[in-house]
Every structure is written in structure tokens, then in C-alpha cells.
Symmetry: C2
Subunit: 317 residues, 2 copies
């Protein structure tokens, strides 16, 4: 089966939300009046972002999920996605399973797969997603205000602890913790509904993908603010929570969380907690934004500073 | 210099046409009311789409040019682009030159570079481009009509003849032909103004990138039409024109042309010629669309069929 047949069989489905889908020089969509378009791109490379033996269906899920997570962080509704894939060989079974995982998630969030490119090369995936939000209302990184609460959704460190067991071998996780960690690593759940629900409630938001401390730091940097951050309040898996002091990096700087970190005025505290309950997504208050002069400090519940060996993930480190 | 610094230094420029550019979870743009959005993605891999020793500035140009060519084929005005790059190592000089070539072309067509992702991996480039055209007016592949003239812009086969000299070594091009061929290979000029000018004049259009015969075939297939195609009318370089019968594949199936192939009613013949003159782009009439029952034939000026060893480029062949 050649390139065109492969694409046609697995990706040339009737595109949702589109005037014209895969199969022309470009796809055509009709933007919603009064909305801004939000665009994000991610590239995933074998051996760096995933292992060669990963289940292709899980990879299809994750490839899209990390991009939906970016839309969530803007408060945008994901609407369309295009996918470019370099494949080492024309492996129909692999493509079929990858497409299964990718389309299942796209369908669940009503995202139209409107374009693609397939070529031969080292296994590389590039996804561009675009979403819509009412004009001018997106959650930007630069909008944190002094006095804001600092929040994070869900739990941190699960993917990182599973990866650590897999790679370093110096962690021995119980079965339930390993399962929870692998699920996060392979099938992260983008916080799409939470992001949209936070429009009007939160000031600034960011997607936690490279480690919470570094990613939240982007908000502080872009907003020119400092913060007091409460390490012991960071939500994580019970197994890791018991070993919090021993593995602070897994929780605060592990990466692969795909949660939302955001800031919001204290006046919206109850509304944010109600939103989390309504959506079934935990929301935890983990600090307070302060002046840039006060700087950034990560402290435990006794007020002592918590040191991190590394703050986040650098793709060239 | 790490990933974030590399991106920031070379790609985090104030984005044109954007509410918010590089540096958040997503870029934000405001679509033009009354227009459809056209989206296309391409992935280029070292060793397949370009050589390892390519001038990075030329590669930056070409990476964007092939995508602008897709917008041209729709008759859309290119507006925004996002770029994902996997790099084998953090090579500042390479990135700087690549960005030079990429941004120079983006600036020339007033295209905003609104997002990017950089990671480590085998050299791979993925570009997603967004363009706009008045709603419902794009040039689609499926719109060819029986009796339409078949047109092609510019010249065909130049990139292919240079590539053949470089790879196979059985061609010895004179200096001017080699220079013209390398220019096409490395710095193709997308027919953006022509594509937009054809709105309302042409019925169907396609970008010629994988070989004219195969790419034009996509129009016939999607439109369910046949065609009589005139090999001797295909425009090419004078050196190749003199050897037309010996190298039919270079002209008709060579690839890397980045011209527009389109069909239009005979009534618009004079208007299309005037448009070509106005824009300084040659336009050649090279056939006629006919019924699907009549099939597709490629003939020379004596009416004899011209055989092609291969019809186009298959990325998995």
C-alpha cells in the first residue's frame, strides 16, 4: 500500500466541522464569527517523547492529547487538527492502530481531522491543533495579578514516577501506582472542559507538560510577578505523597502531567471549587502570586525552602 | 543555548497579523469576517526531501514555499504559519540561517510566523500554513468541467533535471540550465498572486509538487473527468525542450515544480493570459478536459501517445 492509499484508508474520513477535509491542496473550515482562532503545534520524536515499542493506539491518543491540552490552557474549544507523520516504513497495522487512538480522542472532543501529510523518515509526529474562544477572552500566560491564588488541576508526578521506574530502575512502584503512572504517560486526559470553564474565572493559565515548576514559571515570567508556592499542597498519587520529601522533582518538575496551572483572584475561589466538582476534576490551591521583588519561593508546610535538582524538561539537555 | 533560548532568539519575533504570537500555549489570530480558513501541512525529512548539506537558508525558504504553493493552489491569501523542527543538535548557526530564509519569504508574502516547536531528533521540518479566501470561492480539485482548458504556470522539469544530474550523473547540464534547475530546487517561487487572481476565472487548481501528470490527475480523479493533454505544449527550460522526447518524465512527472495546474472555461482564455502578463508569470494552455469515458491521454503534437515510465513521486516507493 503506497503513501496515498495509506492516507486515504486511515485518515481520509469525512471531516467534522469542515467545509472541505483531506484530499485537496488545503482543507477549508469556516471560523465562528466573534471568535479568535488559537493555534498550537507540537512535534514528537521516537526515543525522545515516546519509546519505539509504544502501543500505536496510545501514541495516537497522546499525540492529540498534548495538543488539546494546549487549547485547554487557553480556555479555547478545540475544533480542528492536522497531522504530519514520518514513518520508517509503510506499516499498515501500525497506522491503523495509531489512527484508532487518534480519532477516538478527536471524536470524543468533537475535533475535525482536516489534513495530513505522510512521508518516509524516522518516526516523527507533528500535530497542529486550532481552537476557538470568544474574541479577546483567552487565558494568557501574561495575565497573573498580584494576590491571585495559584491553582493546579488533577495530580502531578504520576507520569514521571512511572517513567523513572521504567528508565532508572531505582524506584519500585506498587501495581496501582505503576498503573496510574503508565495511564498518565500513555493516555493523558486533556483538561478541555476545565479550561473553557475557567474563562472569566481565572486570569492566567498554562499547560503543565515539561514540569509544573518550570511551566508555572512561564506565567510568572510573562506576567512579571513573583509567587510563594506550597510544595506540600501539590496534589499527587498517594504513594508518591508519602515520599514527597524524597522525590520533590518527580512531583514539582517531572513533566508529562498535562494538567492546568492557573491563577485566579481569591474572590473566585468558591466558583473554581464548584467548577472542579461539577467537572469531576480536582482543583488544588498551591500558592499565591506576589510582587516580582518578592521573588519565587517553593516552601514546605513548615515554611522551609524546597530545593529542586532540576526545574523542568529541556529538549536539548 | 538550550531549546527555549534557541526558539526565542530566532523565532520569537513580533508576529504579523496576530493578536498573540509565539510564547504562550497557543498563538491567537483573528480571522477575517466573511472568509474561509484554508489549512495545509507538509513534512520534510532530511535525505528524502532535501540533502544533509543543503544551505539552511535555502531550506528555510523552501520549507515555507512549498506550503505557500498549497495556498496558491486554493486561491487563498496565506496569512499565518507555524513551524515544528526536530534538530539533531542545538546548532545555533544552522538555526539562524534557516530562520533567515524562512522569515525572508514570510515577510515578502506578509505571512505571520505565529508558533513553533523545537525538539531534538533526526532533522525533520513540519509546516502548517493558514490562508484566507472569501467564503465558498476557493479553487478546488473537484471542480473541473468538461470542455475546460487545461493550463499550467511557469515551467516544468527544471528541478527534476538538476536533481537528475546531481543524483544519477547521466545528465550533463550546461551552466545556465543547471543554475536554473538548482534555483527551482532550492528556492521555488510559490504562485501566490496567480492563485488569488484565478478566483472567478479558473474552475479547479492543484499545486504541482510530485510531478505534473500525477498532480493534474488528482483534479481529473476528484472531478471525475478525462482529458487530452498535449505533451509538446508543456513549458520547460530551453535545454530540456530540445530533448523533450528523450526525457518526457523529467518534464511531465519530475516533481519539485511548485507551479499551478488549473482548468478554466475557454471563455476566460484572454483574461487568464492578461493575468499572466500582468503578474509576469507565463501561463500555458496544455490540454482540454473531456468526459470520463474518453479517458486521459498524453499525446505529442503529431497526436501520438507519449509514454511515461513513472507518473509521479510516491514517498513510499
Amino acid at each position: 500500500m503506497n503513501e496515498f492509499e495509506l492516507i486515504r484508508r486511515y485518515f481520509d474520513r469525512p471531516a467534522k466541522n469542515a467545509v472541505l477535509g483531506v484530499g485537496d491542496d488545503a482543507a477549508i473550515v469556516r471560523p465562528t464569527p466573534g471568535h479568535d482562532l488559537h493555534v498550537s503545534v507540537d512535534m514528537l520524536v521516537e526515543g525522545r517523547h515516546f519509546f519505539a515499542d509504544v502501543d500505536p493506539a496510545a501514541l495516537g491518543h497522546k499525540t492529540l492529547a498534548v495538543n488539546l491540552s494546549d487549547m485547554a490552557a487557553m480556555g479555547a474549544a478545540p475544533r480542528w487538527v492536522v497531522l504530519a507523520v514520518a514513518l520508517p516504513h509503510s506499516d499498515e497495522a501500525w497506522v491503523a492502530r495509531f489512527a484508532d487512538g487518534f480519532f477516538a480522542l478527536a471524536d470524543r472532543f468533537d475535533v475535525g481531522v482536516i489534513g495530513g501529510d505522510t512521508t518516509r523518515g524516522p518516526l516523527t509526529l507533528s500535530v497542529t491543533v486550532f481552537g476557538e474562544a470568544p474574541s479577546g477572552r483567552a487565558l494568557r500566560r501574561n495575565a497573573a495579578q498580584e494576590g491571585d491564588d495559584v491553582w493546579v488541576s488533577g495530580t502531578l508526578g504520576l507520569g514521571a514516577m512511572a517513567l523513572r521506574e521504567k528508565l532508572a530502575g531505582d524506584l519500585k512502584l506498587p501495581a496501582d501506582a505503576l498503573a496510574a503512572g503508565l495511564a498518565r504517560l500513555e493516555r493523558p486526559e486533556p483538561r478541555v472542559a476545565l479550561g473553557q470553564g475557567l474563562l472569566g474565572l481565572a486570569h492566567a493559565a498554562v499547560d503543565v507538560s515539561d514540569g509544573w515548576f518550570a511551566d508555572f514559571g512561564h506565567i510568572l515570567e510573562r506576567s512579571n510577578k513573583g509567587a510563594e508556592l506550597w510544595f506540600d499542597a501539590l496534589p499527587t498519587h498517594p504513594w508518591l505523597a508519602e515520599r514527597r520529601a524524597r522525590y520533590p522533582e518527580l512531583i514539582a518538575a517531572g513533566g508529562d502531567d498535562y494538567e492546568l496551572a492557573f491563577t485566579a483572584p481569591a474572590a473566585n475561589r468558591a466558583a473554581i471549587e464548584a467548577l472542579g466538582l461539577q467537572l469531576g476534576v480536582a482543583v488544588s490551591r498551591v500558592g499565591r502570586v506576589r510582587s516580582p521583588e518578592a521573588g519565587v519561593s517553593l516552601i514546605d508546610s513548615a515554611g522551609r525552602p524546597v530545593a529542586l535538582q532540576r526545574a523542568g524538561y529541556d529538549h536539548f539537555a
